[in-house]
Point group: C2
Chain length 239, copies 2
DNA sequence: CGGTTGCTTGAGATCCATCAATAGGAGTGG
DNA sequence: CCACTCCTATTGATGGATCTCAAGCAACCG
């Protein structure tokens, strides 16, 4: 199967075979990380953008009172930094949630790639804007949506993002994170995550057994959570 | 006085006089907007990035249940979109909070400017990362900080951002927004905004009369709200 | 097996939203 | 100038949403 980040970028621009070859080069040297391990920037890897090949990861922040907030959730195919990030902004607070395989794309090589191909440039900008929109919408969730609305919105978002890389089967997908993680993602306590999940279950919208989430009524879930797929209106390359 | 957005960008790169001249060109044709008016992209101005010259503005989102969440607060000198945003992502939900003067920088001209000068390119990337960090930190606020912590954090952030463009005098600055606006920014009800403000006042940390905010004890305010100026660690051009 | 991790449930406390009412100030029309 | 209205800030009272603390249970694992 095609690399997830290439599969994803195809949604942002009509890549040629040459483009794909260049991008595939970034994934040649993969690293592996255990679950729950920081894998951010160390001195040796500075000036590189991690690309998730497999597994789930996140950017998070810890407060002095011990609370954690996950700022962004990275799925397979996601670039963990913008392609033009100044090195002094490179983020140390990247962590795996599951075991993760990732590649490190040097900033210089990324720049060369987008100079070489306007389609790659377009795809990378598209990817960055997609991430930005996702982040903004989560901000709206934390500010103005109730617990179960947030949960529902997250599931709609995941459905859309995972579908983009072919990881949705029959409206179900793996959800390989704990309820504590979901709480840190949604700004909720683990206990309340549990209760919100049960609300959605009782409403017949989802089921979640093992680590597999089934969405039984996507439309109602979107309605409940004010999810508008349009907010990722760049999600398709066609206009 | 120098244009605020040039003054701001100087923090991100050592601009030459030529750079400044190019940037100043963007501000030549200013538009004006009343308070509380959408001034986003219309057909005539598409493919341009608004730059705030004067006044406060925001990007917001409305939910179907009537709730509003402000996603980003724009101060004088702020670019309202990333410089490389694909046109299909241009945001319609930009609104002024006060009367605003703004310029429209065509995307194509921005690209030419950053091709022409690596310092301009560096400054624009720096600016984008600064915005990103601010947005992330607000997400942390909404997820994991209490009402008065959020409020304190916002004031620390504003102090830092306004100081960058010379709008702080004796630890005080104008805060030209209503308590409803503050609520939509911080994910709170207007009533609770009022009570949180009084908490900060009673603690002797701030005073807010008319539309002027005085910060009496910046250090305590930072401690209270877990504000770490480092999160804007690219804030100075020196490394 | 015992220890750990994650999920579930209950009870009580806290934070914050909502509803409602008052008061002051700014603008507006007569 | 005055009466009127609208907007904003403020305060009180109440209820609901969510947190925290605590305990039990199942699954997994060394």
């Amino acid at each position: 199967m095609e690399l997830p980040f290439i599969r994803k970028l195809r949604h942002g621009a009509a890549l040629t075979e040459d483009d794909v070859a260049i991008l595939a080069g970034f994934a040649r040297s993969a690293r592996a990380s255990h679950a729950r391990a920081d894998f951010g920037i160390d001195s040796a890897t500075t000036r590189s953008v991690p690309i998730v090949l497999d597994g789930w990861a996140c950017r998070y922040r810890m407060l002095a009172n011990g609370k954690r907030q996950i700022v962004f959730l990275f799925l397979p195919g996601d670039l963990c930094e913008p392609f033009g990030v100044p090195p002094r902004f490179l983020d140390h607070a990247l962590s795996s949630l599951t075991p993760v395989r990732y590649a490190l794309a040097p900033l210089t090589a990324l720049r060369q790639a987008l100079y070489a191909s306007p389609r790659i440039e377009q795809a990378l900008w598209w990817d960055m804007m997609l991430s930005t929109e996702i982040e903004r919408e989560r901000l709206v969730s934390l500010g103005r949506r109730s617990a179960s609305e947030r949960m529902g919105h997250l599931f709609c978002e995941l459905h859309l993002r995972l579908d983009m890389i072919g990881l949705v089967e029959e409206d179900g997908f793996d959800l390989p994170v704990t309820q504590v993680d979901l709480g840190d993602l949604l700004g909720l306590s683990a206990v309340h995550v549990n209760r919100s999940l049960q609300e959605l279950r009782k409403a017949g919208l989802i089921s979640l057994t093992g680590r597999r989430l089934m969405i039984h009524d996507l439309e109602s879930l979107c309605d409940l959570s004010y999810f508008e797929p349009d907010y990722l209106r760049g999600a398709s390359a066609s206009r």
